[in-house]
Symmetry: C2
DNA sequence: TTACGTTATATCCATGCAAATATAGCGAAT
DNA sequence: ATTCGCTATATTTGCATGGATATAACGTAA
């Protein structure tokens, strides 16, 4: 009924998106499923889109965020690096803090 | 070269977007030009898009944000209400505060 | 009463983006 | 050797979004 404030934050590295909400979702799904194709299915996005997202993350990050293996037992897979874990944790924390901050700012609008 | 954090915030009213960056730009241009069609031209967007944006703002706001007049001297025009002025000022301030807040949070990522 | 410049709205069309589809390449296991 | 399930890509197809265009409605001023 009343006003709500929403936000979307993301992190860029030399003008490319490194991390955003969608990319974090994808990384978490990879962590859970152990493969990019299963992660894509669980998020109801096409494998192509998932691959493009992951590719852009790994290309713009300082260190690799996932290790992808082709072939081998089970056909391959993808798993998060330690750096990848740290990134998504930090992003989640910042995002949560941002929501709290904005909710408090919203009063300025409600008072009008 | 290093990571940057960016954000986009917006305000919703019963699941409709009330105010965002684009809508604030449009309202400021209306304030400057005195008409919706001139504002659209100055922002290089079609009149149709500008009208849709303004219409959705006025439909989801508690009080009118602009007064639009059809016909009359000069064919008509649009001008901000006092409530409209207050809204864009509050939005700008919140946005600026948000940037400052996020820049400070970014350190958590840089330290990884 | 006619002309004007605007708001307001419908319709058509092109363009781009995303999904679907297809296919190649890989390496371990059998 | 062959199969399997995945990563990695190119190509086509479909759909939605937005732009262009057209036009109605309006009220003041001449």
């Amino acid at each position: 009924m009343s006003y709500k404030i929403k936000s979307r934050i993301w992190i860029e590295s030399n003008n490319n998106v490194l991390l955003g909400e969608g990319r974090v979702h994808l990384l978490k799904a990879i962590q859970k499923t152990g493969s990019l194709s299963k992660a894509a299915k669980s998020l109801n996005i096409s494998y192509k889109k998932a691959w493009q997202l992951l590719d852009s993350v790994n290309k713009s990050a300082k260190k690799p965020v996932t290790i992808n293996s082709i072939g081998g037992k089970g056909g391959g897979g993808a798993e998060l690096t330690e750096y990848g874990h740290s990134l998504i944790n930090a992003f989640d924390e910042i995002n949560k803090n941002c929501w709290a901050f904005l909710d408090q700012q919203l009063d300025k609008i409600k008072q009008l």
